[in-house]
Amino acid sequence: MRYDNLLASVGNTPLVGLPRLSPSPDVRLWAKLEDRNPTGSIKDRPALKMIEEAEKGGLLRPGCTILEPTSGNTGISLAMAAKLKGYRIVCVMPENTSEERRQLLRMWGAEIISSPAAGGSNEAVRVAKQVAAEHPDWVMLYQYGNDANALAHEEGTGPELLADLPSITHFVAGLGTTGTLMGVSRYFRRAKPDVRIVAAEPRYGELVYGLRNLDEGFVPELYDASLIDSRFSVGPRDAVRRVRELLELEGIFAGVSTGAILHAALGQAAKAVKAGESADIAFVVCDGGWKYLSTGAYEGTVGEAEDRLEGQLWA
């Protein structure tokens, strides 16, 4: 397939069947390979859309500096687009994210401000809001509250899924900014309202949840619970186990968060089998496993990998 430039090639990712992980010929799993995007993650979609919308609205002009709190992938996607479009970019990133993500960010030209490990992305958001107040001329696209994040999936991911899998019954994705689930759900609520929208949320080690008051928690502004039908919390043990099964049985090398999503997808598949219903369950492969090799998630026993992920932001 031919594109005029790299940015034009974002999206239109393959949907592949998983015959060996699917429990029966009537209950099938399908993987949407978002690692095939230019920087290797699903975040290329919202990053490009947020930049385009900000340019349209006059918020982003030549010479601008972009600021974003990110645990990695969104920052990498924004940095790639910023490089091609000539913007400076500063990312606020928790210090307990993998070294690969930092190196990639720097390669694409991003400057990194580290936020404390304790509190995870909540802290990155808080620090970024402080930095934004100190630099009112910088443009914070703010993926957690930017409608263009969800719009990228409403206009892209959702329609692509329905075109490739008209019989789709379930869509399963990770819950971070909530953009993927919100956008895809908005599309299906219109186009095929009986599709069940299922969220898989990573459950980290205790350090990540921090010691701050419960009233200082964080729910992304984009989140609308009515667009989701069920939501599961998946710990590192199940995520690692599933991400290894995905490679072992279907040959797909995915990042750890995809293991969490697959775990929730398999739960839906088991439910359909038990109920004697047929199902076509599509889920998101957010990125490849390359950026997480140093976390130790792919070596040794599942228990060892689980221990190594303690305290890390693995999704």
Binding site: K43, G176, A199, G210, L214, R231, S233
Partner: protein, 90 residues
């Protein structure tokens, strides 16, 4: 009937530092009342105006209770309940 409840770091002041406590109840709201009896003060940290606090997430066997009946979500012997503060991803 015994239900294991995993307590986040921030709420362990109510459980003498215990990471997990045991409780009883046929619904989440009954379980929280039972927890309050043995760990006074914890209910107010979980519930506000008769509903779960905005930044508190509760899961029964890993499923978010807000999608399975909220405080009226049913519990059976051996279920595991996890309480976590809401955090950002992305």
């Amino acid at each position: 009937m015994a239900i294991e409840v995993r307590i986040p770091t921030i709420l362990r002041t109510y459980t003498d530092g215990e990471k997990a406590v045991s409780g009883d109840g046929a619904s989440l709201s009954a379980l929280i009342d039972d927890l309050e009896a043995s760990h006074p003060g914890i209910k107010d940290r979980l519930i506000d105006n008769g509903d779960l606090r905005r930044f508190v997430n509760v899961y029964i066997n890993d499923e978010d209770v807000r999608f399975i009946g909220g405080l009226e979500a049913e519990l059976t012997d051996g279920d595991q309940v996890v309480v976590l503060p809401a955090v950002a991803g992305g």
